[in-house]
């Protein structure tokens, strides 16, 4: 006989709050999950999937020829891994193309600078004096017209953090900095890469221009180049020349690629796990997000190899074009809006290839005990239950906004922003043991959620009252 922890026993015994009955996971499923966990830790299926994608396809910018090859690769891989159903769903979006970029300091200290255009940047050549700002607020405070005939340079150094919290400022600068620069009159926008490394590899990522503004060339400097430009500016005025050839080029259609392990009792209900298939063009998209593809494809595969299929279906989604605006996640949410209650739980792996250290779900009270049961099954992997933390992954978030319940398997992101969106995001950076731990966690999580007796609370949210 097993001991049931006191709090859990109380939770199971307590009458459910609200109308839902308390969700619980059968003991037999927990035993099977423990076997799956050990099997995943001993295997390398996830690692080999990442190797295959990053080697055979490499970089796969949304809408590119390589993106189309990635879609074909994903379909073939799901099939080779024995998924019961494999299908594509089209996703259409504006296509952005990078052709070339260069920058240099001109004048007495002439020297090249290494940059990368931000996604969404237009082309153009600007030569002008640089004005440095220590952060976004400083740039936003620049008076209208004050940067006329100037290049704005936001020199914010992002700190490392396990939960990636430093990226909040970094990505805000990338997203809002160019528009703020335009409002102040600047002819081009430069930023210190939103990254934590010290290598000559610039970090790209999408930017946007507010309506009514005329876009300007926008790029990030590598961190050593940002240091260099800051040192030069400390000596006196500095002029730079920035040349970008890039821009929007019509529309493209890619695909969400979906593989499903059919459930034995409730095949219409799904546990959704996934990652995004597209990548930026600079690396080979290994940690962003080949790792997530490998982790979730391998997890579904392991569950599919069981003699007895899981109670609900396991749906693995390789989302299209996350990088430029969650297009795959939005398309999925739109298509399956009517099936929201059939989605038991959903988790996306999109934070690199570091070990998972924490787990939680967004489930309401009647499913907290089941969340704790999953957490207990994950604990041997060094994963803690973090009932106050977590959120929906990017491609899950549009559906979660409608009422889908998310699960969060929090990865250690201490080194993630060394590699994120830059040329160094390559397969050699992935630790096979850490990847296997991720596969084990996703396998355990997805299997237990699929076996639960009861749901995790996915339900359409009451509509917000319309504004006057």
């Amino acid at each position: 006989m097993r001991c049931i922890p006191l709090l859990l026993a109380l939770a199971l015994a307590a009458p459910a709050l609200g109308h839902e009955k308390t969700t619980r996971i059968p003991e037999a499923a927990i035993e099977t999950a423990a076997q799956l966990r050990e099997q995943a830790l001993a295997g390398d299926t996830g690692y080999r999937i990442v190797e295959s994608l990053t080697t055979e396809v490499g970089a796969r910018l949304a809408g590119s020829e390589a993106d189309a090859r990635a879609v074909a690769w994903a379909k073939a891989k799901f099939e080779a891994l024995g998924y019961d159903r494999v299908w594509l769903e089209p996703v259409t979006f504006p296509k952005w193309v990078r052709r070339s970029e260069s920058a240099s300091v001109v004048g007495a200290n002439a020297q090249p600078l290494t940059i990368t255009a931000l996604g969404g940047s237009p082309g153009g050549t600007v030569e002008a004096e640089v004005v440095r700002f220590s952060d976004l607020a400083a740039l936003e405070a620049a008076p209208a017209g004050s940067l006329q005939g100037r290049v704005a340079f936001v020199d914010y150094q992002m700190p490392s953090a396990r939960d990636g919290s430093g990226y909040r400022n970094g990505s805000a600068i990338r997203g809002k900095g160019p528009s703020a620069a335009i409002r102040a009159g600047a002819g081009a926008f430069l930023m210190r890469s939103a990254g934590t490394d010290n290598h000559r590899v610039a970090h790209t990522g999408i930017t946007r221009f507010d309506d009514g503004l005329t876009p300007i060339p926008a790029a990030s400097l590598t961190i050593p180049d940002a240091d260099q430009l800051a040192r030069l500016l400390a000596l006196g005025p500095a002029r730079v020349r920035v040349t970008i050839d890039a821009g929007w080029d019509g529309e493209a259609t890619s695909h969400n690629v979906i593989g499903e392990i059919t459930g034995r009792e409730l095949p219409e209900e799904v546990v959704l796990i996934g990652a995004h298939l597209d990548s930026w063009d600079l690396g080979t998209g290994a940690v962003d997000d080949g790792a997530g593809i490998g982790i979730t494809m391998a997890a579904g595969h392991l569950i599919g190899q069981l003699e007895r299929a899981p109670r609900r279906s396991i749906r693995v989604v390789a989302f299209a074009n996350e990088e430029q605006g969650l297009y795959g996640g939005k398309a999925y949410a739109a298509k399956y809006a009517g099936d929201l209650r059939k989605h038991q739980l959903a988790a996306e792996s999109d934070f690199g290839a570091g070990r998972i250290y924490a787990f939680n779900t967004g489930a309401p009270a009647h499913a907290r005990a089941a969340t704790e049961q999953i957490a207990a099954a994950l604990a041997p992997l060094g994963i803690e239950y973090a009932p106050d933390k977590g959120s929906a992954g990017p491609d899950i978030s549009p559906f979660a906004a409608q009422g889908l319940t998310w699960a969060w398997l929090g990865q250690d992101g201490m080194d993630y922003f060394d590699l994120h969106h830059n040329a160094d995001d390559t397969f050699d950076k992935i630790d096979p043991q850490a990847l296997a731990q991720n596969v084990a966690a996703y396998t355990v999580f997805a299997y237990l959620a699929a076996e639960a007796d009861g749901n995790f609370g996915s339900a359409p949210k009451a509509k917000e009252p319309a504004a006057n």
Copy 2:
């Protein structure tokens, strides 16, 4: 009264071997050296010199406009540092120019590869199937004609080592690989970078083509790209397209820049310390060899600040164009061949910015005791006396071949080949404490060598008998 170690006391007391009297360093000089040592450790002059060169000039490929600015910078810096005499000596060499380079895998796994042309490579475009060799010997064993219509790829992974010994194979591949590839019929040569990092920054460096061969495009892949190409080749045949625009472009004249602190008793005799002023074009030449410039300029400066000038002169040489064939070192040796005996000892700092861990000189028996005295003064810096190790630095070696006595201040090179000849060689990689330790060591060494009573054995070598 100070204790003199037994062995040293015996050495001082023993009759000198041969005709030279035993060289010794006066106790007062050793006391002054100890003060200089502490002063150097507490200061940041060397660090600021590297910052100035790498920031204001940046990369300075021999013969480029930036190289000319580096010469002007060095002259002005010597003067600002209070050197008694500062002058230029012209050095002429063939000029190599890099314009652009690119490579990609073509076909079903099409993707870009990151390369850098090797110094001396001609331009050209080659598209062909790749043949991989695990090392230089394997390529040299390829039969003539066997690589017709192919690209040779030497995939040797250089190990890290404190003394940089892994570079022996790495540089041999770079130097001899292209000629071996041509002999086997190849249309282009690729190598895994001679480096120890895992970043998308390719390592350049000079290559040569044997007489009578028609040069082919020659480049190195970054280490992650070499991994990638090896993985692709493991899956089946792979074709690459390599395009290089580079080549020799007439002659250029640069300068050895020399600063001297005039000796008080024997001003015609010099202790020579130096480094090379040129760099490759990819980084900003911080560890190769801005660090050496900072270390040796700062050491001479500290000695020059003494109230009483050193007995002999301290000559600091910023050598021209080391990277493409020791042109500055050869020019110096040719110009001063008649003054060989006036060179007390010579040391070059050209192995990065890591701490010095060992010391030795090439001095004969009559100056071993003085070598040990210098070693004893260096010991508080964590430097060991290594009587069986060391050799002349690159720019010293042509003069050492004539009979100049070298000194060796061995730096820890464990990380040097992470940065060597690639874009990551930037100022942020330099640890100011380690640099100050180097300055302290060079200051102590140069000062004591200048104060010695007796010489370190520099003398023209007997000419080799002419071959029949």
